[in-house]
Symmetry: C2
C-alpha cells in the first residue's frame, strides 16, 4: 500500500461537494442511452425498444478482498467487472453502472481516488457509463456495492433455464486460474509474515495473478455468438466455480449433466502451481470460482459452428434429470458434483 500513501487528504478536508467533484470529474458518458448521469436524485436511461437488465454485487473487505494483496485500483476494476460479467451472462450489453462505497474516515481521498481510477478504467474498457452512487462512512472495513444495467432485444436474452437434453455444455476461456492466483498470494503472504526478509516468489505466474487481481468479463461473447450464428439455450457466468454453476443451470432447466475432467480447459500456470501446492487442478476449476468465464449450453446441431472457436471449449453434455449432475473423472469414474457456493457465508476466515 506504499503507493497509496504518497499524499494523504482526509475526506473531511474536502467536504461533500469537493469529494463528489474530485471522484467524479473524470467520468465520461459513452452511451447515447445515458440521458442523465451523476448529479441529480437519480440517473436516467433511455431504453427505447430494448429490455433493461439489472444486476448488483456487494464486496466487503476481509471476505471478498484483502487489502494486503489487492491494489485499490485493481479492486475498483474488479468490482465493476464482476457485475458486467452478470450482464454478459444474460447475453446483454452493459451500458451503465452505479457505485456505492463505504469507507472508514481513516481512509484518504487518494485511496478512494485509486478505487475510482480502477472503476473508470473498467468503464472505459467496456464502454460503460458510471451514472450514480453514494459514498459514505463505515465503522470498520471497506464495502463496495456496484449495480450494472445492460440492454438487449428480447429475443437476444439468454436465461438459465433453457438447457435441453443432448445440448452441449461449453465454457469460454480457461478455469481455475483465479483460485490458484489467490492461493499463490496467500502463500507468499504467509511466507512474508514468517520472515519479512524473504521476497515474494511471484515470477512465472503472471497469468494466474492477473486472473485473480484483474479479471475480465466476457462481454465479447455476444458478438461472437452472433458471428457464429449460435444462440445459447442457457447461460451463466462462472463466479462460484464450475460445479455450482452447472448445478444451477441443471436445476433451473430441469435436466442433468455430464462433464468430462479431461475436457475442462486449464492454463499451464494453473496446473503447474496446483501440482506444486498438492491441489488437484480439477478442484480449482470446479470449486475455485472467480474466473468470470461463461458457462453455456448449445443444441448439439450447432457443434460444427463452435468446435473450432479458440474461445470456446465443449466440456460435456446435458442428460436426463434422473441421471444427475456428474463429473466423469480421468479414469472414467463418475463423481457427483457438489455446490460450494457462498464460501463466504459458510465460514468466515
Amino acid at each position: 500500500m506504499a503507493d497509496n500513501e504518497r499524499k494523504v487528504t482526509s475526506i473531511s478536508e474536502l467536504g461533500e461537494f469537493g469529494l463528489i467533484d474530485r471522484l467524479t470529474n473524470k467520468i465520461k458518458i459513452r452511451n447515447a442511452s445515458t440521458l442523465k448521469g451523476i448529479g441529480d436524485d437519480a440517473a436516467i436511461i433511455d431504453a427505447k425498444e430494448k429490455k433493461v437488465v439489472i444486476t448488483t454485487d456487494l464486496l466487503t473487505e476481509g471476505i471478498h478482498f484483502n487489502l494486503m494483496y489487492v491494489p485499490l485500483k485493481h479492486l475498483g476494476y474488479k468490482s465493476v467487472v464482476v457485475n458486467l460479467s452478470d450482464v454478459a451472462a444474460m447475453n446483454a450489453v452493459p451500458t451503465q453502472i452505479t457505485v456505492s462505497i463505504a469507507v472508514s474516515s481513516k481512509f484518504s481521498v487518494e485511496a478512494l481516488e485509486q478505487i475510482y481510477e480502477g472503476m473508470n478504467l473498467a468503464c472505459e474498457k467496456y464502454g460503460v457509463d458510471l451514472v450514480g452512487g453514494d459514498t459514505t462512512s463505515s465503522m470498520t472495513g471497506l464495502v463496495i456495492s456496484v449495480t450494472a444495467i445492460g440492454m438487449a432485444r428480447e429475443e437476444e436474452l439468454v436465461y438459465r433455464n433453457g438447457a435441453q437434453k443432448n445440448d452441449l455444455i461449453c465454457v469460454t476461456g480457461d478455469l481455475g486460474g483465479a483460485y490458484m492466483g489467490l492461493n499463490l498470494l496467500e502463500r507468499e503472504n504467509r511466507v512474508f509474515k514468517d520472515n519479512p526478509n524473504v521476497q515474494p516468489q511471484l515470477e512465472g505466474y503472471n497469468y494466474i495473478l492477473e486472473r485473480q487481481l484483474k479479471p475480465e468479463a466476457r462481454t465479447d461473447m455476444k458478438k461472437i455468438f452472433e458471428e457464429l450464428k449460435v444462440k445459447p439455450t442457457a447461460m451463466m457466468d462462472i463466479s462460484d466455480g464450475l460445479s455450482s454453476e452447472v448445478m444451477h443451470i441443471c436445476s433451473d432447466s430441469g435436466v442433468g449433466a455430464k462433464i468430462y475432467e479431461e475436457k475442462v480447459p486449464m492454463d499451464n500456470e494453473t496446473k503447474d502451481l496446483a501440482e506444486e501446492m498438492h491441489i488437484n487442478p480439477i478442484v480449482a476449476a470446479l470449486n475455485g470460482g472467480e474466473d468470470y468465464e461463461l458457462l453455456f449450453t448449445v443444441p448439439i446441431a450447432d457443434h460444427d459452428k463452435i468446435r473450432n472457436h479458440p474461445d470456446i471449449t465443449v466440456i460435456g453434455h446435458i442428460v436426463d434429470a434422473s441421471e444427475g449432475t456428474n463429473l466423469v473423472a480421468m479414469g472414467g469414474t463418475e463423481i457427483e458434483l457438489t455446490a460450494q457456493g457462498w464460501n463466504s457465508l459458510k465460514d468466515e476466515k
Copy 2:
C-alpha cells in the same frame, strides 16, 4: 432485540439455496414491466416508451442506523423508502429494486428475515418489485445497499437545475421531525445506560418517532402534481436537511433563494421536543435531514393552484444568484444558509 431471538438459525445451516429461498419466497411481482425478477444473473425490465430512472443508497451500521434503537423490520422498510424517495424526486414512478446485504455470520437467518420483511412491506405499500440482489458476509457490521429503478415519460421528469428567478419554493409535509425523533431515541438510550431500571419516556412523541423509524417516500406527489396541473421546475428530496437541498437546487440552477423561518412547516411534537431539549426547531428542519419530503419550485403563476393544498407549503422564492441563499429569520434578519451534507463522513460517532 429480544423479539429477534425467539428462534435462531445460523446462516450456514441453510446453505446458499436454502437461504435464498427462505428470504425470497414471499416476494411478489407487481409490475408488468418486470420481465424477470430474482433467479438469473440479472433481472430484466421492459421499459417500452418510458425512460428508466436509477438511484442507489448504502446504509451502514453505526453510521446510518444503530441496532440499539432501530427494529430490523423498520430498518428494512426505511432502506427501501430512502431510495424510492429519490425516484419520487425525479417525478418518476418507482417500479423495481435490487437489494444487497452484508452481515456478520453471527447474524441469524431470522434477523435477516426481519429485514426482508420490512423490505417486502415497503415493496407492497409502494407497488415495487424486488428483482435481485446479493447476500454476503461482512467482517463486522451490517451493510444494506438498495438500488431503485423508476420510470417516467421524458416530459414528466424533473431535474434539480430548472429553478428560475421568482419561482416559489415549496415543501411537502413537515420538516425536522425525523431529527427530533433521533434525538429522543438517543436521549432515552443514554438515560437507560445510566440506569437500566428507568423506563424510556417515549409517550406523546409517536409522530416524530415514526418519522425517524418509518419514514415514507412522497411517491404520492406525482399524481397530486398531475391533478393540480402543476409541473415543478426543479425538485429534490430532503434527505440531508432543507438547507443543503435548497443550496443544491440553487447551485445547479444558477440562482439564489430566500426562505422564511416562519413559513417552514413543523409538527407540534417537533417544536415541543426541540423546546424541551433546548434545540432551535428551525435548526432541526434546516440541518436535521431524513425527513424524505420533497423540496420543489413552481412558477409564481401557479400559486393559486397549490396555495390551498394540504400537502404543500410555500416557504420562499427564488432570487438572483447574486443575492445568495438566505433564511429570513423570525425577526427579519437574513442568515446565509450553510450545507451540512454528509455528517457521516465528517465525524464518525
